[in-house]
Each structure stands twice: as C-alpha cells, then as structure tokens.
Symmetry: C2
Subunit: 235 residues, 2 copies
C-alpha cells in the first residue's frame, strides 16, 4: 500500500507537479536517473510513471522521455463550437494536419445512415489535431458529399463547421454521441506517437443537418489526458 516504493515515488512526483516545481510540459529526469536517485530498479520506476500516466499527470514521448501533462481542454459538444474555436478560447493553440483524404465507396453502415446506396461515394478524411504542438486527437470521418458537393476540393485542414457555414450555408445541429474509455487502437496510437495500449477516449459522433440528414460520421481518438467532456442536458 502506502509503503510501496512505486507508491512513494508517485507521491513525490505528484507533489512536484501540484506545486508547479515541475511545470506543465517540462521533462522529467530519465528513468535511469530516477532509479539511481531513489535506489530503485527501472521496473519499479516505470510502474510509478505508468500509474502517473494513467492518472493523467504525465505522458511520454516515444524514446524521448516523460513530460508533465498540460491542462486538459474542455470539449462541450452541445456548444457546437469548432475545435479551433474552443481550443483558442481556452487559451491554447490549435493546429490541424490532414493525413489522408479520398473519395471512397460507403460501407453498409455509413450508407444506411446517410440514406444513400451502398458503395456510393463518400469523402473519407483522416486528420490529426494538435493543442500547443502536442498531438491529442485523431479523427477519421466520412462526409456526405451529396449534401456538400465539391467539398473535397476545399482546404480540409480548416474548421469543417466554418467551411459548412461559409460555403454551404449549413450548420451542425443535432448529434448522436458515443463515448468509450478504452486503449487506443494501434493505428491511432501510432498517429499520436503513443505506444499502443495506452488508454484513450474514443468518441463516435453522427452529425445531422437541421432537416435530420446525416452530414458526417466521425470517429475520434483522444489522448485520455487531453480532454474533459462537458455536457448540459436540457429537455
């Protein structure tokens, strides 16, 4: 319990982080250095670090080191604010990168949702989004090109909600959301530079137009420590 070595080490770093002796984003000493300082093996040090990672206090970059987790951004789906907007409003710097884009035939699930024939073309978009230089979110989405003709020719690193508003006079309205706390699939983990198996937050979102048509189906994989979900339910 409280006397275990890894537990004490967790407490040590937790305090340093809470007192801001270790500041947000700063690097921890290497696992070997910590082990030397506390006369512990790397196995024990890593157990403590992994627990702090699960707590969301620190995170790692592959073969670079361990870092203090920056504050999480608050994501409020019902506000209908774009990623860029709510991240900026909370004092962070957003950035979006397009990893892949292609027109592809809709699978059965997507086709049914969008009320289009199976194999009808939809736009697949794969993006990585950053907060303060840190990759926090992988997005894979299917966009209903029937409702948004020519959208594949636009700059798809920008905010989609802006694009919809400006070019198509459409806005996000109703949405269905599914949240699941689980480890990141290896493809998403790779894209985020995380070792596979790290905990993450999976969000599946279906966006509807004002007239109840499916505009977009979105699969998001967040670093678990990067986001807090905030929802108000009003009947």
């Amino acid at each position: 319990m409280s006397t275990h070595h890894y537990y004490q080490l967790q407490g040590y770093f937790r305090e340093l982080i809470e007192l801001k002796t270790l500041k947000s984003g700063s690097k921890l000493p290497s696992e070997r250095e910590i082990g030397e300082q506390f006369k512990l093996t790397r196995v024990t040090v890593r157990q403590a670090l992994q627990n702090l990672e699960a707590e969301g206090l620190i995170y790692r970059q592959n073969r670079k080191g361990w870092f203090v987790t920056p504050p999480a951004v608050v994501y409020n789906p019902s506000s209908h604010l774009s990623f860029n907007l709510y991240v900026t409003e909370q004092g962070f710097v957003p950035h979006t990168e397009k990893l892949m884009q292609q027109i592809e035939p809709a699978n059965a699930y997507i086709a049914q949702l969008m009320n289009i024939p199976e194999h009808a073309p939809v736009l697949y978009l794969h993006r990585r989004r950053y907060i303060n230089q840190r990759p926090v979110l992988i997005e894979k989405m299917y966009i209903n090109t029937r409702l948004l003709p020519g959208i594949e020719k636009e700059d798809l690193t920008q905010s989609l909600s802006q694009l919809l508003k400006n070019n198509y006079q459409r806005e996000y309205r109703d949405m269905d959301l599914v949240f699941k706390s689980t480890s990141l699939p290896s493809s998403a983990a790779d894209d985020l530079g995380i070792s596979a198996g790290q905990p993450g937050l999976h969000i599946e979102r279906i966006n509807y137009t004002a007239d109840k048509q499916v505009l977009e189906v979105d699969y998001e994989f967040w670093r678990h420590d990067a986001v807090t979900i905030n929802i108000a339910i009003r009947d």
Copy 2:
C-alpha cells in the same frame, strides 16, 4: 512491433475472446501457467495482460486471477432511466449496496450550487453498484435535504429516481455532466476491489429539478470497461 512476444500473446487471447472460446466472465490461466506454455517470463505475460485490460477485454480480481470482461452496459444520461432500469433492460442484473450515509455540513461548492448556507446540512450518500455480481461503479453524492425532507430515513439502496417520483413527486430533469477518463483514486479503486492506478471513467453530475434547483450532486467512478456513454444532442 507485431513480432513482439507480448503483442503476439495479446493477439492470441484477443482471438480466443472474440471467438468466444473464452467466454464472458471466465477465468484465464494463471500468469505462471501462461508463461510456461509460451516460454515467457511473468513480466512479459503481465505486459500483455495489462494491455488487454486497457483495451477492456479482460479485468483482474486482486489475487484471484484474470477474467474475460462482460459486455459493457450503455448509459444514456438523457434518457433519465434509473441504473436499475437500464441495466435490467439490457439483460443484466443490477445490485446496489450502501457503504455509508450521513448528514453533514455542506462545503462551499455544494452550498453555492444548492443555494443554501455553507455548513447547512446535506445528505451524503456513498454507494457501490454491481452488474451481474461485479462491482462496476462507486457513487458519492450530496443530496439537497431541503427539497427532500426525511429522505435520510428511506431505504437508500433503492433507485433514487423511483424514490423521488413515488415519495416526493419529483423527477430528474436537467443535468450538467462532466466526463473524464482517468485512473481511479485509491479510495474508489479499493471500493471496487481494483488495484489503484487502473484506468476508470469519472463522471460528475449535477441534477436539477424542473424549477432549476439543485437536487443532487453526484460523483461517479466507473470501471472503464463496464460502461459506454450514449448521448443524443437535440436543440
């Protein structure tokens, strides 16, 4: 990557679970047995098991063994269904245990929310909830006794929404929700029989009456593999 021993072992068990050769709730061989069978050390075996745990496929019971995770229950806060109801509807067996109950003075945050003087009495209730015998959820809540006089004398293992409806002609309506994927605090982990540091889902909920008064402030800690959140946003 894919050639790593732990990774292959994960694949092995993932397949057994998906094919239902290993059935929901059943026990895996002991870490030592697995190690012997695959000529791996316990460290490696444990890494694979811990990854599968993060994935939500298996879970452990302290010093008892590893078990296949049962299907997650879907929790839809906007449906206003009670725990007992939605768990039952999905074919599981719910059970609630009261761990602690006491009248205590409201702290500043609670008092402000409930619009009562600081230190005014509120009912603190601490419960553990089970799905099919498995503890999945720790609830700590503060109940506004001004709106619900005498509630502390009722049977508080039952559904609160039922109690409110039957005895007070009140119903849950609006609510504010905050979700965060993080490791369970040690108190909650102990209550769930989980080793501290395991990932979990933390939900903070504020329940309002129809006339916008705060009925209850609720802190929930879920096993991360036991629940999926489902929300429909309709403006």
